[in-house]
Amino acid sequence: MRKYSQLLLIIPFIGMCVLLPVANRIEPYILGLPFLLFWIVLWMILSSVILFIVYKLDPANKGSEV
């Protein structure tokens, strides 16, 4: 399972590209931002979270520094 953890990196591409047409609107405002801008910020934050999960699952990161 850990071997395939890097496949999770596809998720931000789905969020920012495939699902983008759904987000192309102004309302509702969330955190003071128009919905489209909020959507992009959300995926930037989720990208970091996903990268952190992949880093933790990645067997290459076990052990000492290369």
Binding site: Q6, L9, P12, M16, I26, G32, L36, L37, S48
Partner: protein, 494 residues
Amino acid sequence: MNSALIIIFFVALVALYLGIRATRGKEMNVNEFAVGNKGFGTLFVFLLIAGEVYTTFTFLGGSGWAYSKGAAAYYVPSYICLAYVLSYWIVPKIWRFSNKHQVISQPQYFMKNYNSKALGVVVAFIGLIALIPYIVIQLKGLGIIVSEASYGTISPLMASTIGAIIVTIYVTISGIHGSAWNAVLKDAMILFVIVFLGIYIPYHYFGGIKPLFEAIQTVRPEALTFASEGLSKSWFISTIVLNAFGFYLLPQSFTVVLSAKSERALKKNAITLPLYTILILFAFFIGFSAIIQVPGLQGADGDLSLLRLTMQTFDPWFVGIVGGAGLLTALVPVSVMVMSGAVGLMTGFYKLIKPNSSDRQQLTVAKLFVLFIILIAYVFSIIGGDALAILNIMSYGLITQLVPALIFGFFNTKFMNAYGAIAGIITGVSIVLFNSITSFKLVNMFPNIPSVINDINIGFVAIAVNIFIGVSVSLITYIFVARESSKVIEELVK
């Protein structure tokens, strides 16, 4: 002499001092000059990569695009974020190969990966023509920022000249070390300036972020979503994917990867950098505020929206701090670009002519190439007109034509060899150049295609043709070589 000018000069002197001081305690050789002896940890790699994001574009282009093109400006943080996501998979492979084969430049990477000097020359040439417009844009941006922030006391040309001299001095003395130390100062200043302005201006003029966007929704609602044609959803998606693949292939980003001391430093950066990129939003807030507060800026003048609004809102001493931060956002990226371009030319061309040259000779030649590149960029920044805009648009289109060769290179397959890579790159580059010169769109060839397809970034089409040609040529040459070698073996057996 006004207080803004004093502060800008002070920042310039500090940058020069830090750039020169960075070499202290280090014996400068080619490896140290180009990639810091592959010794940069997580923090310096972070600052240098982030330095490629927070350039004069953040000051001028980010707010300027929000001002003039609205939501289309969102493509910038989006592609950078996806580039970091991709980097987790791509960058460690590049670093591993480079570490094993003592690679110090991008042309050398492709040369050794495909065992082809010709491919190295092609990559060095493409890297150079993609880099020059970037350096020119930074020098021009520096001129505009310093000139505006000094209330016209310093002319844009004078500011560009001073900037070019500072960069030349500290790059030739310290190489990448000078850039790294200045990146520390730059990020501290820009962090303060952009976040402060991005919060203060919307609250000062509108009472908050939401009221700002509600005001925009009233006067220009189309600025908050993508257009149905032109800068549309399909333009946005194709552009962010294309640029995400191209980001780490820009010679200056590639060089930073090579300077890391471990894979782990690069992976840790991939995690944190998307969050850091969110700061570009604050530049957008300023650009959106300017739509209402500084109306009427036409065309390229939209890029002045941040500076005009700052000068309208604050005293000269604060404008000086903004100008100083703007100066650094040009100096740091330019220094990395010039240095990586110079080392690329040295390894791509000089080492081919003089393969047995000493380390000292190579270092001297690299420094001469620094002067050569900065001089070309400086001349272009003075005389460049519309041609420059064309060059800038095609920079990413050109550099992404190296993507197929890079990706296939990871797998060492018969589907891509040096012949195929060169044929594919030349075909892709030709399409990008043709598009840039003629503004060719798909609709010119297929009049009835919907705008969803017509708006797709032409670089995408070029990549598809690049892969087709590259794989075809590789397979043909593979079969041809296999046939020839079997004939030789048969003759030897006889």
